[in-house]
């Protein structure tokens, strides 16, 4: 009896493992075949096209990363998805828009008809970001006070519903206040959209836009600054302590409510910066502008491992690049980029349910 039972124990048939391996083999095999087909058989896209896809993906990915940080920070501390984060970004985008419009209509040199915007372009951009980030910071803090704090002890689903409600409320409030018109961001002349350095690849001109480079570099700087804040400062240590265990942190003399407020403030500031970057690079904003990027950034945060800062950055970049190059690699319509992005999400969740980098900000599991 014992002899027949023991082999069963030693060799259990793990169906989940088989499914995993089959999917992996099929996926990788298909990918290799597609890349072979693209490089050898079809040759639709030259090096210039691939460079354009990659640039577009990196810029998009860097903005996703900055928004995703906002989701991940709040999740790391409160274990809730702040679905109104996209709307916080939208408010920041509007604040930046009105700042730039005001600076653009403030003529400082009547003789030349030059506005403050073009007389002091760097200062104007800094001001736009300052106003955008401040607005979003205030919005983030108030959002937490109004929509989430009263529900602190409630079941997990309750603040989630509250977040969705806040998101819808903010969208409609913005529509009523700012009108449903789409607005065109006013950039200073040095950052004119859709102009940039021209690189000749494959004897074709590829434009690397100024706004794109600006967005990408600024995103990386913001991500490094944020990472330093969380890892190196007293406030960051308090945040990590609260993330690990709220009760113990409170016993150690940490003001938990204050830390949560500050987390929402930082998350809001990142959202605001993302909003202004979005406006400067893409140009068009309206009351719905934060919704889709918000969803994508949430996906990016889950992809990288929600609650994990480097994970959110990596997830954002991966998502941006996959969206830009995926349809071309697989040879399917570009409209299906979201299908690819979410398929990647499903694959990652099958193989690594905690995301690419896993959850490290806290040990506590969902």
């Amino acid at each position: 009896m014992e002899k027949t039972a023991s082999p069963k124990v030693r060799m259990p048939i793990n169906t989940y493992k088989i499914v995993q391996v089959t999917i992996a083999v099929l996926f990788i095999g298909y990918l290799i075949w597609r890349i072979y087909a693209l490089a050898v058989i079809e040759q639709v896209y030259g090096a210039d096209s691939w460079l354009r896809f990659a640039v577009s993906g990196l810029i998009l990915g860097s903005v996703y990363a900055v928004i995703a940080i906002g989701y991940t920070l709040v999740y790391g501390i409160l274990f809730m998805i702040n679905f109104a984060h996209g709307e916080i970004m939208m408010l920041g985008a509007y604040a930046g828009y009105f700042t730039l419009e005001a600076l653009g209509s403030w003529i400082v040199d009547p003789a030349a008809g030059q506005a403050f915007l073009n007389a002091n372009p760097v200062l104007s951009i800094v001001l736009a970001f300052a106003v955008g980030m401040t607005t979003s910071t205030i919005a983030g803090v108030f959002l937490e006070k109004i929509a989430y704090r009263p529900l602190r002890g409630a079941p997990r689903l309750v603040p989630l519903i509250s977040a969705i409600g806040a998101s819808i409320f903010l969208q409609n409030a913005a529509q009523l206040i700012f009108s449903p018109r789409r607005r065109d961001y006013l950039n200073p002349d040095i950052l004119t959209r859709n102009t940039g350095w021209t690189v000749v690849v494959n004897s074709k001109d590829v434009v690397i836009t100024y706004t794109g480079v600006f967005t990408f570099v600024l995103s990386i700087i913001l991500l490094i600054v944020l990472y330093t804040i969380v890892q190196r400062t007293r406030m960051g240590r308090a945040m990590r302590a609260v993330a690990e265990d709220k009760k113990t942190a409170a016993l150690m003399g940490i003001d938990v409510d204050g830390v949560i407020s500050r987390t929402f403030a930082i998350s809001g500031a990142m959202g605001g910066a993302a909003g202004v970057m979005w406006g400067i690079h893409n140009g068009i904003i309206y009351h719905y502008v934060g919704f889709i990027p918000g969803l994508k950034a949430f996906t990016a945060a889950v992809l990288g491992g929600i609650g994990n800062l480097p994970g959110a950055m990596l997830g954002g970049m991966v998502l941006g690049i996959v969206e830009a190059t995926g349809p071309a690699i697989l040879g399917i319509p570009f409209q299906l980029k979201d299908v690819i992005a979410f398929s990647i999400l499903v694959l990652v969740l099958i193989f690594r349910p905690s995301g690419i980098l896993g959850e490290v900000l806290t040990e506590e599991k969902v």
Binding site: D48, S49, R52, S179, V206, V207, G283, I284, F334
Partner: protein, 398 residues
């Protein structure tokens, strides 16, 4: 016990009979003759015209703008023998399910005489069968999908020209006037944009041209550089886009930096308008779009002034359809005034007469041209005009 119940039932029946008899007596003969009955407006009540379109959410600019145009028409023509017309505005979100929900709400309103709408073809398609059963005439400002008038509906009419007419004209213009032989076609995947794009594609191929790409984009996004870069690799001479101004503006803005510099951007009447110019700025130069807006007239100028005074922004800022919004409401009011029967201080509108009246519109002079409905409900007789963006303005294309 049993006897008591029968007695009660008999009494109730008698009361009911009496009530219907009384109600019937007050109604004019036309209502009794009309198989669909009458819309009734009691003294002191308003004569209601329903507008259904997206007034909230992503596409709220369209619904808001069309209803604002319609409200100006109410200001201009809304008085009738001591009664006042009212535009009841309901949000469909632009979606089919929203369209059906609003239609069901509207048909339950006894003083509703006609429907100015719907906006968006998908929402309209869902609403047509509901209005068909109830006998509410429709006059849509912007639902242009060709199949809508092929459903055999008696109530549906529109003043927008069809996508078929527009698409065929656009393809001919690109092939003959612009002399292009290789084009790329993009659309937003909606009933309007995709329908139009398919017509342009098939017509252009029929003419002998080559369509190198047929791509859909997800509407509402603000970055389309990847699909544009994909199309740039196929080297088209003209990029045709079927969709609305917001997405068209994003595409046009990003064309130059995605490798499509010097390629003509050609779009539709959903793109035409001040909004596109505002959103593209200097990038708009050379864009060609179709439109149903005729050259300026004194009436149009009067409307433009009234619109700006009441709503703050000049017309065309939100969408290209506001003039149509004015026209449909004005035309429906004129039909309703012809059909109305006054009796006992109440107004009665026989529903069949309303339906026939709207279908029978002939030579009505609107801001957007002459409105004359044919047997299927196509009321636009003018056809599209081509405009080109030059120096930040739309001018008639050669």
């Amino acid at each position: 016990m049993k006897k008591g119940t029968y007695g009660l039932l008999a009494a109730l029946l008698l009361v009911a009979l009496f009530a219907t008899a009384c109600g019937g007596a007050a109604e004019p003969k036309e209502c009794a003759d009309d198989p669909l009955g009458c819309a009734v407006v009691a003294k002191g009540d308003t004569i209601k015209i329903g507008y259904a379109g997206p007034t909230q959410g992503e596409y709220s600019a369209f619904g808001t703008d069309i209803s604002q145009g319609g409200l100006i028409a109410i200001d201009d023509f809304g008085e009738f023998n001591g009664f006042q017309f009212e535009l009841v505005i309901e949000d469909t979100g632009g979606a089919p399910e929203g369209g059906a929900a609003v239609a069901n709400k509207f048909i339950s309103e006894p003083s509703m005489v006609a429907i100015a709408g719907h906006t968006f073809s998908g929402s309209t398609e869902a609403a047509i069968p509901i209005y068909d059963d109830a006998g509410f005439p429709m006059l849509s400002p912007s639902a242009t999908n060709p199949s809508l008038t092929e459903m055999g509906s008696l109530v549906f009419n529109r003043i927008a020209f069809t996508d078929t007419v527009q698409g065929i004209n656009a393809a001919e213009y690109i092939y003959n006037k612009l002399g292009a032989t290789k084009i790329a076609v993009m659309h937003d995947g909606g009933a309007y944009g995709q329908g139009l794009a398919e017509i342009v594609k098939s017509e252009f191929e029929k003419l002998g041209g080559e369509v190198v790409a047929f791509e859909a984009i997800t509407p509402g996004e603000t970055d389309y550089s990847a699909p544009l870069a994909g199309i740039a690799a196929l080297e088209p001479e003209v990029l045709y886009f079927g969709g609305y101004d917001a997405d068209a503006a994003v595409l046009k803005n990003q064309m130059a930096s995605s490798g499509l510099e010097g390629v003509t951007f050609f779009s539709d009447d959903g793109c035409f308008g001040q909004n596109f110019l505002d959103l593209t700025g200097e990038n708009s130069e050379g864009t060609i779009a179709t439109s149903l807006i005729p050259p300026t007239s004194p009436e149009k100028e009067a409307f433009d002034a009234a619109y700006e005074e009441r709503w703050g922004d000049p017309p065309g800022t939100l969408s290209p359809f506001t003039w149509n919004g004015y026209d449909i409401v004005a035309a429906l009011i004129s039909v309703a005034k012809d059909v109305a029967i006054e009796q006992g201080g109440n107004l009665y509108f026989p529903r069949s007469a309303m339906v026939e009246g709207v279908r029978g519109l002939e030579g009505y002079n609107g801001l957007s041209g002459v409105i004359s409905c044919d047997a299927t409900g196509e009321c636009n007789t003018t056809g599209p005009t081509f405009y080109i963006a030059e120096g930040g303005k739309w001018v008639q294309a050669p």
